[in-house]
Symmetry: C2
């Protein structure tokens, strides 16, 4: 699954863009502006201007504003959520599961720099306009697999019973998306200025590896 | 330090509020509205209406909108940041330091329900209107104490060298403020519906305690 929708557009194409290209360009313009100014702070005219078309053309592709926002959720955010979460079910062990999850989130943010900001502002924040649209299609079976894996490890005595299995998913997002969304702010704080995305991945992976390491290795007989 | 400004207002007071009361009431109205609609989405007229005064009265207490936002940063957010961070320098060990930090953040959010939303939207998010105001007064000496404590433990071989000391502070915020800000969204997700603030504190404390437990206890001789 392509994490970066831009990969679908070829660079050396003739000037006359196809309808599919124009539509994709408008969605790209929309996510960039939504990340910077929020959905409420972005007019359709601004999206048209950034996409290099008239406002009438925006309405040609997206009958109304709600349809445009639906398309951003379904065609830009949802494929990333699916690509990030689907491989979770391939792991039966917590550590590699969380390690892969962190790497895919950080890679998705590197390929789609608008992602953390939109996620923070429009999914997590109160009144976020993408929250309801994404919650409807949460990859619940993958989240449940993670919850069940943590719960089973707790039952075997390998993990602290104080950990809340249902919050592990939220913890992974907090350890990745929050610093990724703070990237611009980091540049203004002297001690954080040279933090890179890969530092965020490495730190989150190390923290989760220590936090979810088996407490009583003798019980399992290996590793 | 009072984490909840409402504690300053007595309930059975005569109808004629003092000037200090009116000003405090307007700041309370402002933070509530900012948390719900964002600063950009909150007009001065709305704040006046919620505070039960005219827009002219808002201008009497706060000459312009910038002054009102300055006052929210200096009189509502800054005291919380100080109360949450100051005790950090009293700990020389990482685990109690992080345990206390988590508890104070969660308590501050319980006493000031507007806190996580405003922090996420106006401090962390791109274009947040409180970001520059708060960054100027970051409790850097406390953050540095945390960074130095983690670095020293790494040098003694007690912590994974893969952990990034400068990101520990951000990790604590990600493990607390992010789920606290998602509280409303949790209510719409069946498996997260009954998560309480204290579950968030307990989980973050357990996760951090495991992640920052000494790796080689024999080196230190005791715990």
């Amino acid at each position: 699954v392509a994490l970066n929708s831009r990969a679908f557009r070829s660079v050396g194409r003739p000037r006359q863009a196809s309808a599919a290209d124009s539509r994709a360009l408008l969605l790209d313009a929309a996510v960039g502006l939504f990340a910077e100014f929020g959905i409420a702070g972005t007019s359709t005219a601004k999206i048209a201007a950034k996409g290099g078309v008239t406002a009438a053309m925006v309405h040609y592709y997206f009958a109304d504003r709600e349809q445009l926002i639906d398309a951003v959720a379904a065609e830009r955010l949802q494929p990333i959520v699916t690509a990030v979460w689907s491989p979770v079910v391939d792991s039966r062990e917590i550590e590699p599961m969380l390690h892969g999850l962190v790497q895919r989130i950080v890679s998705a943010a590197a390929a789609n720099p608008w992602l953390p900001s939109i996620w923070l502002r429009e999914v997590i924040s109160e009144g976020g306009q993408l929250r309801a649209r994404l919650l409807k299609k949460l990859p619940l079976e993958h989240v449940k697999h993670l919850v069940n894996t943590v719960t089973a490890a707790q039952r075997r005595g390998e993990l602290s019973p104080e950990l809340e299995p249902r919050l592990v998913y939220v913890s992974v997002l907090g350890l990745t998306m929050l610093p990724l969304a703070s990237f611009d702010a980091f540049k203004q704080v002297p001690i954080l200025r040279d933090i890179e995305r890969q530092d965020i991945a490495r730190h989150a992976q190390a923290l989760l590896a220590s936090a979810f390491a088996r407490r009583t290795r003798q019980r399992t007989g290996s590793t």
